[in-house]
């Protein structure tokens, strides 16, 4: 039987308060806030975060496939899953797929992973859904859409949740779409769109529960995709679910609708709270509907050290200005830069792919010295070519020194340069992201994070930065 071994999630550190949007557009503002990707984040970098969260304590060499799902893949032509797999330091002989174009692509990938495991073509598959959809300024979706990612590890043993029943419908229905030329999502009249949404979900869930011979009361928790909060309440009512006690909070006032990642992020929230033997109804929507009944095992209580949803949601920083948000999403015509543009060299990146994508340094076999970036000669003992790989991406370190450059060619100034000394050895010269410049202190705990450095030469150039270790509201 196939199912979920463990999970991970990622919510970017920035929150844009609805009051900020209200103040900019002179409208009455809604409640709460939404999660907004930093300027150096996109669907790929957030996927890497969710995958590494999911694989904590799991041997990365045991992964046979990585399925990536998003409606906002940074490349129109070029696979994202392969980049995520490289950054997560997975094996080279694995299967990578991108699932795209649909709000349902996250569960499309999940269903494919379940089938792969059942068919025996893969033993372990990581499914990651990540989305960073761009809403039009001053639109209804601007206050609605959030950014984030979730990952699930699928296998047929050591399961913490088993897949009991599945039912899917496909639909050609156009509710929201983007053509090749569209920058922002479009939508038909909302009243029509939402009535069809309710119809499709009802149809799917009804077929699923009949198949399973279960009724609404049999579920401990229902995780249901909805475009917004009102529709979420409507669908719960239509399905006769106890909204207060048995429906997973969709987090519209904390996270926002995170597109293809949304239902999987909600599922992670539900799994975080689940007890052994719980039945979970899981429904995702978009171009049809995927529905799954999961049952948790006693293994569910043993999942530890995941930041998941709860921790990430309570670890946050305000994005206080709309101007900064416009810069983050590159939404205006900006003053022309007189300095030469960023550029890249793909030959160089290819030669150094292990150190650039996976943050792999070296440990000298002669003296044990650790160095990054890799060299031909040990910088500690000057012996030639006697190294083993040494990964820095899963290490924590301390801020050794830093500077705050107000004139660098960066979106979010100051550009904070630093060196970080890792526990267990190795020093990394880097940029600090997800930070409050006022709160930096020598010695503070730091951790690596995979980010987009720049778009020079028309390439999304990814590499690692560091950030102050994310702490939740309890300061843990």
């Amino acid at each position: 039987m196939a199912g979920i071994v463990t999970y991970g999630a990622y919510v970017p550190i920035y929150r844009l308060g609805q009051h900020v949007l209200g103040a900019v557009w002179g409208t009455s503002s809604g409640r709460g806030e939404k999660a907004v990707a930093n300027y150096d984040e996109d669907a790929i970098t957030m996927a890497v975060e969710a995958v590494t969260d999911c694989l904590k304590g799991i041997d990365r060499k045991s992964i046979d496939a990585l399925y990536f799902a998003s409606t906002s893949p940074p490349y129109r032509e070029k696979q994202c899953a392969s980049i995520v797999a490289a950054a997560a330091d997975l094996r080279r002989d694995i299967i990578t797929f991108d699932f795209a174009n649909s709000l349902r692509s996250g569960t499309n990938a999940l269903r494919a992973a379940i089938d792969s495991v059942k068919a025996g073509s893969c033993s372990r598959v990581v499914v990651v859904a990540s989305d960073c959809r761009l809403p039009a300024p001053n639109s209804a979706s601007e206050s609605l859409l959030g950014d984030g990612a979730a990952a699930l590890l699928i296998d047929n043993s050591e399961l913490s949740a088993t897949i009991e029943y599945q039912y899917t419908i496909s639909s050609e229905f156009l509710d929201t779409w983007r053509t090749e030329q569209d920058k922002y999502p479009r939508m038909w009249e909302d009243r029509f769109v939402y009535s069809e949404y309710v119809t499709q979900i009802k149809e799917t869930v009804s077929a699923l529960t009949q198949k399973a011979r279960l009724s609404a009361d049999d579920f401990n928790k229902a995780v249901i995709y909805a475009p917004d909060s009102r529709r979420h309440q409507d669908i719960a009512k239509a399905l006769r679910l106890d909204y207060k006690n048995k429906v997973q909070d969709p987090l519209f006032d904390q996270l926002g609708n995170t597109g293809a990642a949304f239902s999987m992020m909600m599922l992670v929230s539900a799994l975080e709270e689940a007890n052994s033997g719980d039945k979970i109804l899981f429904v995702s929507y978009g171009d049809g509907c995927d529905s799954i009944i999961l049952q948790t095992t006693k293994q569910i209580c043993r999942i530890k050290d995941r930041r998941g949803m709860k921790y990430h949601l309570s670890s946050k920083m305000d994005l206080p200005s709309y101007g900064k948000y416009l810069r983050f999403r590159n939404l205006l015509e900006w003053e022309a830069e007189l300095r030469p543009p960023d550029r890249t060299s793909l030959t160089l990146v290819n030669r150094q792919r292990r150190s650039i994508y996976a943050l792999i340094g070296q440990k000298c076999k002669c003296c044990g010295g650790i160095q990054y970036p890799p060299l031909k000669i040990c910088s500690w003992c000057q012996e030639k070519g006697q190294f083993e790989e040494f990964s820095l991406q899963d290490k924590k370190g301390n801020l050794f020194t830093y500077s705050m450059d107000e004139r660098a060619m960066e979106v979010d100034l100051p550009n904070i340069l630093c060196t970080v000394d890792f526990e267990g050895g190795g020093r990394f010269y880097s940029q600090v992201t997800d930070r409050d410049p006022e709160k930096l202190e020598i010695g503070m705990a730091m951790e690596p994070t995979f980010r987009k450095i720049h778009d020079g030469s028309g390439v999304h150039n990814y590499f690692w930065k560091v950030r102050p270790v994310r702490v939740d509201m309890q300061g843990k």
């Binding site: 060299s345 500690w380 020194t401 500077s403 705050m404 450059d405 100051p414 340069l417 720049h454």
Partner: protein, 396 residues
């Protein structure tokens, strides 16, 4: 191994006005500095047997031969980032000492203000192109790493650290304000420096040197021939050049507050010159203060001031014109300006004029300068190339 001591003499020097020279090109700067140096030596271009040009410009020695229309003599272009100027002198010295040539010309030149933006032309501050590792690092951003660490190591608060650096800049501007050829001829107050916009915390605008156009030149020969040109010539006493392995930013034993390359270059130069106690024996220091923190750490690393004790020196005014050991009497890179390839040679020009008692502005003249030190450094903390030259009066 033999020392360079007393084997090469400087018999003529020139230096253009430094500044944002919007209406000057590199050719005219080369020509002006060379003309002054040749005139100072009392010779003509046709007397020069070989030349070295230090610059980040161009690709070849033709930066010089084309500007001067020199006729087919050998010209070597030297580039060692910001340490270029002194290295051009150093290489020319070895050719003269080897007696391959008898009289040679050295020119350092840079034309930085043709880019359309402030700061250094990009690519110049980056050592080796890497698309992502160290991306968006700038010279002030990298030097500021040393400042933050210095404050931490020696227990200075942000305010105390900023004040210490500001006092260095106030001193350098005071010196440069009275130097006719300097780029920034303006006194600044401690308050102005402290309140200036931040460039790269903790470095503010006045902690950073000028981005400058300019050229400087020298005519070299052997001391036995020097009297044919003048009596008050100057001789090289020692040279040190140290290229670090460049892994400071990556090695946990590097702490930014001591610059090994600087110490090694100074140690070599002291050994060649036979200097045992640099603070007592040397009369003046021209230091590569591209940033205030650079002057502070370099002076400590050259053992002119004990490590961690710069604050006492700065507080007591030890590095001022009236102090125990004047540092950057010229105004330094800070105030005199920093045309990359020209600075190393320009530092030697200041020592030359001081030794001769010919400082352009009499109030700047030190009494009885016998030995001067010129420090010229390229790269950034953790990844340096450093040159130190000791120069002395002919009679020494």
């Amino acid at each position: 191994m033999e020392s360079i001591k007393n084997r090469v003499a400087v018999v003529g020097m020139g230096c253009t006005q430094f500044g944002e020279l919007w209406d000057r090109d590199a050719d005219s700067l080369v020509l002006e500095a060379t003309d002054e140096a040749l005139q100072d030596a009392g010779i003509e271009l046709k007397d020069i047997q070989a030349a070295w040009v230090g610059t980040m410009l161009g690709m070849t020695g033709m930066v010089l031969s084309s500007a001067l229309q020199s006729q087919y003599i050998p010209v070597t272009r030297i580039e060692n980032a910001c340490a270029t100027g002194q290295d051009a002198l150093r290489n020319a010295c070895y050719a003269v000492a080897a007696k391959v040539f008898d009289i040679v010309l050295v020119v350092g030149v840079e034309k930085l203000k043709d880019e359309g933006y402030g700061g250094l032309p990009l690519g110049m501050s980056a050592d080796g192109f890497h698309p992502v590792y160290g991306a968006h690092g700038t010279a002030p951003g990298r030097y500021a790493l040393a400042a933050t660490r210095y404050f931490h190591r020696y227990g200075l608060t942000r305010e105390e650290g900023k004040t210490l650096l500001a006092m260095i800049s106030v001193k350098s501007h005071h010196n440069g304000a009275r130097n006719p050829k300097a780029h920034m001829r303006r006194e600044v107050t401690l308050e102005q420096v402290m309140k200036a916009p931040i460039i790269a915390w903790p470095l503010g605008l006045f902690d950073c040197c000028g981005v400058t156009d300019g050229a400087s030149a020298a005519v070299l020969c052997r001391p036995e021939d020097a009297r044919r040109f003048r009596d008050d010539y100057m001789v090289f006493k020692g040279f040190g050049l140290s290229a670090g392995p460049g892994m400071g930013k990556s090695k946990t034993d590097y702490d930014y507050t001591h610059w090994e390359e600087t110490w090694r270059a100074a140690t070599q130069a002291y050994a060649e010159a036979g200097i045992k106690e640099p603070r007592k024996e040397i009369n003046m220091v021209e230091c590569h203060d591209c940033f205030s923190i650079a002057e502070l750490v370099a002076v400590e690393s050259m053992e002119i001031c004990e490590r961690g004790h710069a604050k006492e020196d700065v507080d007591s005014g030890a590095w001022t014109q009236e102090g125990e050991i004047p540092v950057n009497l010229s105004g330094g890179l800070k105030s005199f300006g920093h045309p990359i390839g020209a600075s190393g040679c320009r530092e030697v020009y200041e020592i030359y004029k001081q030794i001769q008692g010919k400082a352009e502005e009499p109030s700047r003249q030190l009494k009885d300068v016998r030995l001067g030190l010129a420090h010229n450094q390229g790269g950034h903390p953790g990844r340096f190339i450093c040159g130190v030259a000791i120069l002395g009066a002919s009679q020494e």
